[in-house]
C-alpha cells in the first residue's frame, strides 16, 4: 500500500515536471480597431489549427479610449505582446517598448509606403506593421456627375467651381462635409500639405519648429481656405452639426455629390443604404495644376511588437506567418476586406473605392500620407481652429495664427 502511494506521488511529480516543460507560449494581443475583431479571430483560429496549436493567443480589442487604456497597461508593467498606435509620429512615442521588425521575413511582402510609415523620427527601423493600408481622397457619385453633364472629374480648383455650378443647376448639393468631426479637417488638409512640399515629413518638422509658415505656401494659405469656403457655401445646411453619419446618409441617398475627408472605410455603410451606388474616388483639386490632384496612400495604424515580450519568438512567428503565408496574404482581401498593406493581387469585384484608388495611383501616382507626422493632439486642436473659422468666429488670419502656434506648442519639441 505504501509503495503504491509513493509510486503515485512519483508519477504525479513527473507529470508536474512534464507540464512545466511543455508550458505553452502565450501571446497577448491588445489593439484598437474593433471593426476587424471577427477577421482577426478567424486568423488566430486558423493559425492555431494549421500552424501551432501549442500557443495560447489572447485577443482583446476596444475602440473608445484605447490610448488611455494602453497607457494604464504600460504603466502597470502589464505590456501586451502586440499593441497598436498610429503610425508616423507616434512610432517614436512608444519606441522604447517596440521591437524593430526590419530584420524579419515579413519585410519581403510589406509595401514600401507602409514601411516608411513605421520608421522612427530619423527614418530608421520598422517599429510596427499594418493590418490595413489606406487611401485618402474625394469620394463622388458618378451618376450625379453624369446627370449634371460633367464628363471629366475636376482636377483643378477652377474646374471644380464650374462643376459646382453645373451640379447646383441640377438641384444637387455639391458637398457633404462632416465638419463637426475634427479629423475630417486633417484628412482634407493633408492633400494641400503634400502639394506644398515634396518632403512632407520635413515640412511638418519645420512647422513644429516655427521655421515654416502658411504665408510661404499659397496652396495652404489661399487654396486650402478657398476650398473650405467652397464646401461651406455649397455644402450641408447646419455645417457644424454635419457628422460622419450625415455624410454617409446624404451621399448614399443621392442628396450630395461629393464627400469630404473620407475614404474606403465608409463604403460598407454606403452600399448598405444603396447597393446600386456608383462610387468614384480621386484626389482633391488643390491648385491649377492637374498633376497635383492625387490620392494619398499609406498606413495610418501600426501594430507594434513589444520588445519586452516573454515569448518574443512565438510572437514573431505569428506575425511573420500573417504577412508571408498563403492564408495570411489572402486574409487581407478575402477575410478582412481591407486595403492590403502587402504586395498582393486584388480580386476583381473588390470595393469600388479601393479599386478606384489603385487605378488613380497607377495613372497619376499617389502622394504620401501626411497626417501621420503630426499627433492627434495637434489635429484635434487644428480641427477646433477650423471649426471656429467655419462658424465665422475667427478670420482666416487668426485661424492661421492659431494653427501655427498650436503646431509649435503641441507637437514642437519645446
Amino acid at each position: 500500500m505504501r509503495k503504491m502511494v509513493v509510486l503515485l506521488v512519483a508519477v504525479m511529480m513527473l507529470v508536474g515536471t512534464f507540464n512545466v516543460l511543455a508550458q505553452t507560449a502565450e501571446i497577448d494581443i491588445f489593439i484598437s480597431m474593433p471593426e476587424y475583431a471577427d477577421p482577426i479571430n478567424e486568423l488566430i483560429d486558423t493559425y492555431q489549427e494549421e500552424v501551432n496549436n501549442e500557443v495560447e493567443i489572447n485577443y482583446e480589442t476596444t475602440q473608445s479610449d484605447y490610448p488611455t487604456l494602453l497607457k494604464v497597461k504600460l504603466n502597470s508593467g502589464d505590456i501586451p505582446d502586440l499593441f497598436a498606435s498610429t503610425s508616423g509620429k507616434e512610432i517614436e512615442l512608444y519606441k522604447e517598448y517596440s521591437y524593430d521588425l526590419s530584420g524579419e521575413p515579413m519585410m519581403d511582402t510589406m509595401l514600401p509606403s507602409v514601411k516608411k510609415a513605421m520608421a522612427d523620427a530619423d527614418g530608421n527601423g520598422v517599429y510596427g506593421f499594418a493590418i490595413k493600408g489606406n487611401y485618402f481622397g474625394l469620394i463622388y457619385n458618378k451618376d450625379l456627375f453624369a446627370q449634371a453633364g460633367i464628363e471629366k472629374f475636376p482636377e483643378t480648383i477652377s474646374e471644380m467651381e464650374t462643376a459646382i455650378e453645373k451640379l447646383e443647376a441640377e438641384g444637387i448639393t455639391p458637398f457633404t462635409s462632416g465638419f463637426s468631426e475634427w479629423w475630417v479637417f486633417k484628412h482634407l488638409f493633408q492633400h494641400f500639405l503634400v502639394a506644398a512640399e515634396d518632403d512632407v515629413q520635413a515640412l511638418v518638422r519645420d512647422f513644429e519648429n516655427g521655421e515654416a509658415s502658411f504665408s510661404d505656401y499659397p496652396v495652404l494659405e489661399d487654396n486650402f481656405f478657398h476650398f473650405v469656403d467652397l464646401v461651406v457655401e455649397h455644402g450641408d445646411n447646419k455645417i457644424l452639426e454635419s457628422s460622419l453619419n450625415t455624410e454617409i446618409s446624404q451621399f448614399a441617398t443621392g442628396q450630395a455629390a461629393m464627400v469630404i475627408g473620407q475614404g474606403p472605410w465608409i463604403e460598407d455603410s454606403l452600399i448598405q443604404i444603396d447597393p446600386e451606388l456608383n462610387i468614384g474616388f480621386t484626389g482633391y483639386p488643390v491648385s491649377e495644376d492637374p498633376a497635383e490632384s492625387q490620392v494619398i496612400s499609406g498606413a495610418d495604424q501600426a501594430v507594434r511588437v513589444s520588445s519586452d515580450s516573454e515569448d518574443l519568438d512565438a510572437v514573431l512567428d505569428f506575425v511573420n506567418w500573417w504577412y508571408t503565408s498563403d492564408y495570411g496574404k489572402s486574409w487581407f482581401t478575402d477575410v478582412a476586406g481591407v486595403v492590403p498593406p502587402i504586395e498582393v493581387e486584388i480580386p476583381e469585384d473588390y470595393y469600388q473605392i479601393i479599386q478606384e484608388g489603385i487605378k488613380a495611383s497607377e495613372e497619376k501616382g499617389s502622394a504620401p500620407l501626411a497626417i501621420i507626422y503630426s499627433t492627434d493632439s495637434f489635429h484635434s486642436a487644428f480641427g477646433e481652429a477650423m471649426q471656429t473659422y467655419v462658424g465665422g468666429n475667427a478670420t482666416k488670419a487668426e485661424t492661421i495664427e492659431t494653427i501655427e502656434t498650436k503646431w509649435q506648442e503641441i507637437d514642437g519639441s519645446n
Binding site: 479610449d65 463637426s180 455645417i239 452639426e241 473659422y389
Partner: protein, 290 residues
C-alpha cells in the same frame, strides 16, 4: 452607543479608512506630485520641473481661464434653473393632483438614465428631430444650429443638463415640502395671509435644509460637468464648450501632458473647495429652525 469600547470604534472604521485612502487620498497625493513634473503618461520616468506647469497655466496660456469661465457660467445657469424649476414643479406636485404620483415618476425617469445616453438622445433631437419639426411647423427657432453655433451650443448643454438632473432636485424639494407642518400654513390662512405671503414667509424659510442640500449638490454637479458635454458636443464647435473637467481630460490623455493636466486638476480642486465652502456657509446661515 453601540460600541462601548473606544478602541473597537476605531477598529471598525479602519477598513473604510483604508479603502478611501487608497482610492481617493493616495491618488490625490500622487497627482499632486505629477503636477510638479513633465510627463507624457507613457515614459517610464517623469521629469521633475517644480512649479513650471503652474507658471504655464497662469502666465503663458489663457486657455484654462476660458474653460473656467465656461464652467462658471454653466454652473451658475445650471444652479439657477435646476433649483427654480425643481421648486416650482415640486410645489405643483405636492398639491392633491390625481396624477401626482405618475408625474413624479415621469420627472424622475431622465435622472436614472445614463448621462451619455441622454446626451445622444438630445443630439438626435437637436439634429434630426428639430429638422423634421421645422419641416412641419416652419418655426425659425427650430432651424437654428443648436449644436453647431458656439453660443447656442452653450445653452443647449445647459438645457440638457438641467432636463436630466431636474428629477433629483424635485424629489428633494417634495420631501422638504412634505415635512412642513400643515398647521402652520392653516394658522396663516386663518390669520388672513394670501398664497404669496404663505410661500415667502413660511414655506421658503422652512425649506432651508432642502435648499442647502440642493444648492450644494447642484453646485458640485455643475462644476464637475463632463459626460453630457462629451456626448453632445465633445467640446465643440471650435472648442467653445470645453468644461474644466473635459479640458483636464483632454490635456492629460489626448495631448499627453499628464503633468500639466494634473496641475490643472489641482487648481480646479482648490477652486471647487473654496466655492463649496462659501455656498455652504451662506445657505446654512439662511436656514431657520422651528
Amino acid at each position: 452607543m453601540i460600541f462601548e469600547n473606544k478602541k473597537e470604534k476605531y477598529l471598525f472604521t479602519l477598513p473604510a479608512i483604508f479603502m478611501v485612502s487608497i482610492t481617493i487620498y493616495l491618488p490625490f497625493l500622487i497627482s499632486s506630485y505629477y503636477s510638479l513634473t513633465e510627463w507624457n503618461g507613457i515614459d517610464r520616468e517623469a521629469k521633475f520641473i517644480g512649479l513650471e506647469n503652474f507658471k504655464t497655466i497662469f502666465f503663458e496660456n489663457n486657455q484654462f481661464f476660458d474653460v473656467l469661465i465656461f464652467t462658471g457660467n454653466y454652473t451658475a445657469l445650471f444652479m439657477l434653473f435646476s433649483n427654480l424649476f425643481a421648486l416650482i414643479i415640486a410645489l405643483v406636485l405636492v398639491q392633491k393632483l390625481k396624477t401626482a404620483k405618475l408625474l413624479r415618476g415621469i420627472f424622475f425617469v431622465p435622472y436614472i438614465m445614463s448621462m451619455i445616453i441622454v446626451g445622444f438622445i438630445w443630439k438626435f433631437i437637436f439634429s434630426q428631430g428639430f429638422a423634421r419639426l421645422y419641416e412641419i411647423t416652419e418655426l425659425g427657432l427650430l432651424n437654428l444650429s443648436w449644436l453647431g453655433n458656439s453660443e447656442l451650443a452653450f445653452y443647449s448643454v445647459v438645457l440638457v443638463g438641467v432636463w436630466q438632473q431636474l428629477g433629483f432636485y424635485i424629489v428633494l424639494y417634495i420631501a422638504g415640502l412634505q415635512a412642513i407642518p400643515g398647521d402652520l400654513l392653516e394658522a396663516a390662512t386663518v390669520d388672513g395671509a394670501n398664497i404669496f405671503q404663505k410661500f415667502f414667509k413660511i414655506t421658503l424659510p422652512l425649506l432651508g435644509p432642502s435648499i442647502t442640500v440642493c444648492m450644494f449638490m447642484s453646485l458640485t454637479r455643475g462644476l464637475k460637468v463632463f459626460d453630457i458635454i462629451l456626448a453632445l458636443t465633445q467640446g465643440g464647435p471650435g472648442g467653445s464648450t470645453y468644461s474644466a473637467t473635459l479640458d483636464i481630460y483632454r490635456e492629460a490623455f489626448q495631448y499627453n501632458n499628464y503633468g500639466l493636466g494634473s496641475a490643472k486638476a489641482i487648481i480646479f480642486f482648490i477652486i471647487v473647495l473654496i466655492l463649496t465652502q462659501i455656498v455652504l456657509k451662506i445657505s446654512r446661515r439662511n436656514e431657520v429652525e422651528l
